[in-house]
């Protein structure tokens, strides 16, 4: 059975290593924070000006002056630092973030990502995503494998306006885990529990590479 968004977040949490500085995008990526193992030390960066983001506050600790990039009320952990938006993106552009987790509407087999605009329909804006994908060393995407009407979102080429070229390193969808190869193509690494390789082939428009036995993911 395909994963729900919590399942995707849980699987991605395994990618977070001890000592990492991590930027979490809006949506599923934000949920990842809830599943990071408690025995590793991680600093979450929020591009609105906070390094060392903690959990949501208890009701009595809510502070309207302390939010994350998704405009949710948050707290700080010991060792946190606050800074302005220019300093925040200085950090991002200079490659200090070890892992960046973003949502996406589409990803191409070349690692292009689209996540900010549907012409004529929806304009949210790119926020910090274009800066992140242009500079971060290690970008992984959390997304649904297909749209609500069943169209694949892992494509040969993106149909929507793109956010960045050749930047996505890994995809975690509700169906599986995929490396985006430097030479192009989605290499299947893991299947979601109960999802078959056949299901994934069906749901993937871009070039899918399946080598040997594909293990079921452990979450």
């Amino acid at each position: 059975m395909a994963l729900d968004k919590y399942g995707i977040a849980k699987r991605i949490a395994q990618e977070v290593k001890d000592g990492y500085y991590v930027n979490l995008g809006i949506g599923i990526p934000t949920l990842v924070a809830n599943y990071i193992p408690s025995d590793i030390q991680v600093m979450l960066q929020s591009e609105n000006g906070l390094l060392g983001m903690g959990p949501f506050p208890t009701k009595d600790k809510v502070d309207p002056d302390m939010i994350n990039a998704g405009k949710q009320t948050v707290t700080t952990i010991d060792g946190a630092a606050l800074f302005n938006s220019a300093e925040s993106f200085a950090m991002i552009r200079s490659g200090k973030i070890d892992l960046t987790i973003l949502g996406a509407m589409e990803v191409s087999e070349q690692g292009d990502i689209a996540n900010w605009k549907i012409p004529g329909k929806m304009v949210k804006g790119m926020g910090g995503a274009m800066d992140l994908v242009a500079s971060a060393r290690n970008i992984i995407v959390a997304m649904q494998h297909t749209s609500k009407d069943g169209q694949s979102k892992l494509l040969k080429t993106c149909s929507l306006p793109i956010t960045g070229l050749h930047c996505v390193k890994k995809i975690f969808s509700d169906l599986g885990v995929f490396d985006v190869l430097p030479e192009g193509g989605f290499k299947l690494l893991e299947r979601a529990p109960g999802v078959s390789v056949e299901d994934i082939i069906q749901a993937t428009e871009g070039m899918l590479i399946v080598e040997g036995t594909i293990p079921e993911m452990k979450i």
């Binding site: 809510v62 939010i67 552009r93 804006g125 926020g127 800066d131 242009a134 793109i162």
Partner: protein, 230 residues
């Protein structure tokens, strides 16, 4: 001591004219100059070009000036929270320039730092790159981006002193310090205005030289956009 104090919000914004370009500090509803926005709505100043990371929400923040059609053009990075905005944009009533958030922050910082242009990798290969010079550094393509400056910058700080020095709190800092440097006239509203000499010079985020006028806001609602608790 050089004294930047004005008596109230009306005096602070008295010369903001129709057609002005204005920077507004804040990220979402956090750290926005509530008092100045409300006074601008009351004053009815029109055809504004607003530079702000977001566009408020329906009924608060810059959403107030959108509702009254006082804004001609928005320069922002993310506007996903505002239905009125999306409506005016899709109908063509509102001009919009969307920029990567880091590019927006850096262009404003450049405006206040006397750097007319710089290169950044953000946006290469996207719509944002259209018409912009591309240059390769260390094998990586970058876009030439120009500074942003404004007729007026309106920022909101936690504490300020009569010399115009500002201290921000938490993530309400965001775009405020850069914007304070990039306005021909910079207006600061603060939660608490104290005499010069009260604030520790080592803790000041925005030196007073960048601030033209300062006043204590009458009231802060500090509306929360997404209240999330454990």
């Amino acid at each position: 001591m050089i004294n930047k104090t004005v008596t109230n919000v009306e005096e602070a914004i008295h010369d903001i004219h129709d057609g002005a370009t204005i920077m507004f500090g804040g990220f979402g509803l956090c750290g926005i100059p509530e008092n100045c926005i409300a006074a601008l709505q009351k004053r009815g100043t029109k055809n504004l070009t607003c530079i702000s990371n977001n566009a408020g929400v329906d009924g608060f923040g810059l959403g107030l000036l959108l509702a009254t059609r006082q804004i001609k053009k928005m320069i922002s990075s993310y506007v996903g929270e505002n239905h009125e905005f999306e409506k005016q944009l899709l109908s063509g009533e509102l001009e919009v320039e969307l920029l990567p958030q880091g590019t927006l922050a850096e262009r404003i910082r450049a405006g206040g730092a006397g750097i007319p242009a710089f290169y950044t990798p953000a946006g290469y290969g996207t719509e944002v790159a259209e018409g912009k010079e591309v240059r390769v550094f260390d094998g990586k393509p970058h876009l030439l981006e120009h500074w942003l400056r404004a007729d007026f910058s309106i920022v909101k700080a936690w504490k300020g002193d009569t010399a115009g020095n500002l201290i921000f709190k938490g993530t309400a800092r965001n775009f405020n310090p850069m914007m304070a440097t990039a306005g021909k006239i910079t207006i600061a509203e603060v939660e608490e205005l104290v005499p010069a000499g009260t604030l520790d010079p080592n803790h000041i985020h925005t030196p007073g030289i960048f601030v033209s006028r300062i006043f204590q806001g009458e009231q802060y609602e500090k509306r929360i956009e997404n209240l999330t608790t454990l």
